[in-house]
Symmetry: C2
Subunit: 410 residues, 2 copies
């Protein structure tokens, strides 16, 4: 097969490679794709919960494992999956070779546990394809420019797949997962949710940032920048899933989905002195800890001070409290409070740019359900509201219905 | 600490690192060695039976896994151990960094599954020591000169430790295992067996080749060539084990031990045409398959043909039979037979060079026990006899007693 064959990148998550039997099924699918005339790069995660198991062992030793060593540990998981898949493909007469992130030329910065990809040097991968191999690639990992093994953080395997797809000019990057595509809302919460056939990078980015778990925002962002078409689908059947591409055939459609994020907490700093540079100082200190703050709301100033609220992942609360303990005192604020009993509901759709009434309609639905809105933030294609967590699922169902997203009763 | 501190290499086998708790105990011991003023390089195996578990997964996919991929798979085991130990050491305030075989500059040939070390480039390891780290090193693995991950075969972690010790000029290479040293015979077979305090490389080499499991012959050979003092001891207490060094304080002692190897089979090729070059042809074909043949006996020729017998590991029999099926026909021999119900008993001692009666004494003991000798082979410091397997343990006990190796009744 010539190297001018189209290149398809296929990424399989932990569930899809959770057992030797599932790896055999993945091998069958890869062989099919290969026999259809494509060059294939397969990106794999660790089997099932293996990464969590390794992490648990490390944490039995110490709560804060040395980051360099932890990365060395966690990268063992993909190594096992990729070589088992390599064995399965070769056993089917399909020539295949597996490569670690380091071997594949995935060069990152030096931040262990959350490294950013700086460059991809795909020479060895392209040579392996040219030699007629299916290439198997360990997701989630890279090599820093100081020659240390790094990991890309949770969801890093998607990122590996998308970035490599961009670097080798792949036709498509297929993300295989345990759901069969992107839905207008979480089907476990909204039984009438519909699968979206096609969605733009921008909309997917907003949905992912708003808590839709199917793709990490980082991967969508890289796909958009590199122009890699994404296809999110399940490894359990042959049906098409959701295509994520530039532009969108969805442009005529107002709303593409409703997302609920119950993993954030609301933090309020009371009585912050209302001086220029205060917000910058606060959020720089938080960013220096690598904590991603989401919605930021500053109330009107009264008597020279202002209250400032924002949301942040609940998982980051211990570190965040460390920062704020020092900071509150330093800037002369009164105190800070944490409310981790909230949820964020977001409505996303490229069409709302030209329909100014969408936000108002959303507030109206929530009001009619007697659900109190605590914070609001908007972008050109998204409206998000913070509400009580207990109201979350009811809010999603009501908004989903109001915006005409429910599927016709089957 | 200066890099002119003595370097101690400590190698811990699977049992010694079989659980998170055992790894913690190893960390404590390493810290002690470090605090005593040494630079320390720790070489680790995979945890417990993890290598076997990985192999079993591969074999659920296919009986003959692709060798390159299998090596990639099996090297995951040491990666997990070494990073957990790295985490445990750093958690104790002992700066430590772990390195794969590839990172440590262990360069091998390209024979996957049984690669030979060709060169060690310890630059990165020496820099890490100089920077004040305890260095942790994955045993059993290397990088071929074609940049592929390789494994060194069973017992390869000992080899890694010894070769690295030689390359960095270590004072000693300590091999921690689940027994506390080298014994005059297997204590499970001979309850009166004694621990040997000091033994020469040559004697240890013969004992290891004769089936004593405590060290692989390859490691002893490398230690001898590079002049690395070995210290075999247990990780379960602080006592000295057995020192293996050049020369020997054992020279006055006649016999250092008795070994029993029940893992070999006897193969006989009947009626081989008695022409020059025939033996070379047979054993070249077998060597090409990477099978180590041990004792070779050729009977006197009669009527232009001769019978040829040899022993080989029982694990290699399937491959060996493949070679012999073709070869027997090719060379015009009558047939071959396999007897896998044998054992090999060996008596080893540097002192026997100057005591010609040792072999005769050994045959005499066996005769007095009514044990039939089927094959004999000798070296300057070893006598080996092939006998029925069922007679093996009885033979070892009788020989052990006859040569005065029994400990005084306690």
């Amino acid at each position: 097969m010539s190297t001018h064959a189209p290149i398809v990148v296929q990424k399989f998550g932990g569930t899809s490679v959770g057992s030797v039997e599932r790896i055999q099924a993945v091998a069958d699918r890869v062989v099919q794709t290969r026999e259809a005339g494509n060059d294939v790069i397969v990106v794999v995660s660790a089997m099932g919960d293996h990464t969590d198991d390794l992490l648990a062992m490390a944490q039995r030793i110490t709560e804060l494992p040395e980051p360099r060593e932890l990365d060395m540990l966690l990268t063992a998981g993909e190594r096992i999956t990729m070589s088992l898949l390599g064995i399965a493909l070769n056993a089917r007469g399909c020539k295949a070779a597996s490569y670690t992130g380091s071997q594949a030329g995935i060069i990152t910065d030096t931040q262990h546990g959350a490294a950013k990809i700086q460059e991809i040097r795909p020479k060895r991968i392209l040579e392996a394809l040219e030699a007629g191999n299916v290439v198997i690639l360990a997701g989630f990992q890279g090599l820093s420019h100081e020659y240390e093994i790094t990991t890309l953080g949770r969801g890093g395997s998607d990122l590996t797949a998308v970035a490599m797809a961009g670097a080798v000019g792949a036709e498509v990057c297929e993300i295989y997962t345990d759901v069969d595509g992107v839905y207008t809302a979480d089907p476990r919460v909204v039984p009438t949710a519909r699968k979206v056939e096609r969605i733009s990078y921008d909309e997917m980015l907003e949905l992912a940032a708003a808590g839709a778990k199917v793709l990490q925002p980082r991967s969508v962002e890289v796909a958009r920048r590199m122009g890699v078409p994404l296809h999110v689908r399940t490894s359990f059947d042959e049906h098409d899933g959701t295509w994520i591409t530039e532009g969108s055939e969805m442009e005529g459609v107002l709303i593409s989905g409703v997302a609920l994020d119950a993993d954030e907490a609301k933090v309020t700093i009371d009585a912050v002195p209302d001086r220029p540079g205060m917000a910058a100082r606060i959020f720089k200190a938080i960013a220096a800890e690598g904590i991603n703050v989401d919605m930021i709301v500053q109330n009107v100033s009264h008597q020279g001070t202002t209250d400032m609220s924002f949301t942040a992942p609940r998982a980051d609360l211990p570190r965040l409290q460390g920062v704020l303990d020092a900071l509150t005192h330093e800037i002369g604020a009164e105190r800070f409070t944490v409310d981790d009993d909230i949820a964020k509901i977001s409505l996303v759709g490229a069409g709302m740019k030209s329909h100014p009434g969408v936000a108002a309609d959303m507030f109206d639905v929530l009001a009619s359900e007697a659900i109190n809105i605590e914070m609001i933030s908007t972008s050109p294609i998204r409206v998000s509201c913070v509400i009580r967590r207990e109201d979350g699922e009811r809010a999603v169902r009501a908004v989903h219905t109001r915006f005409g997203l429910d599927s016709a009763p089957g």
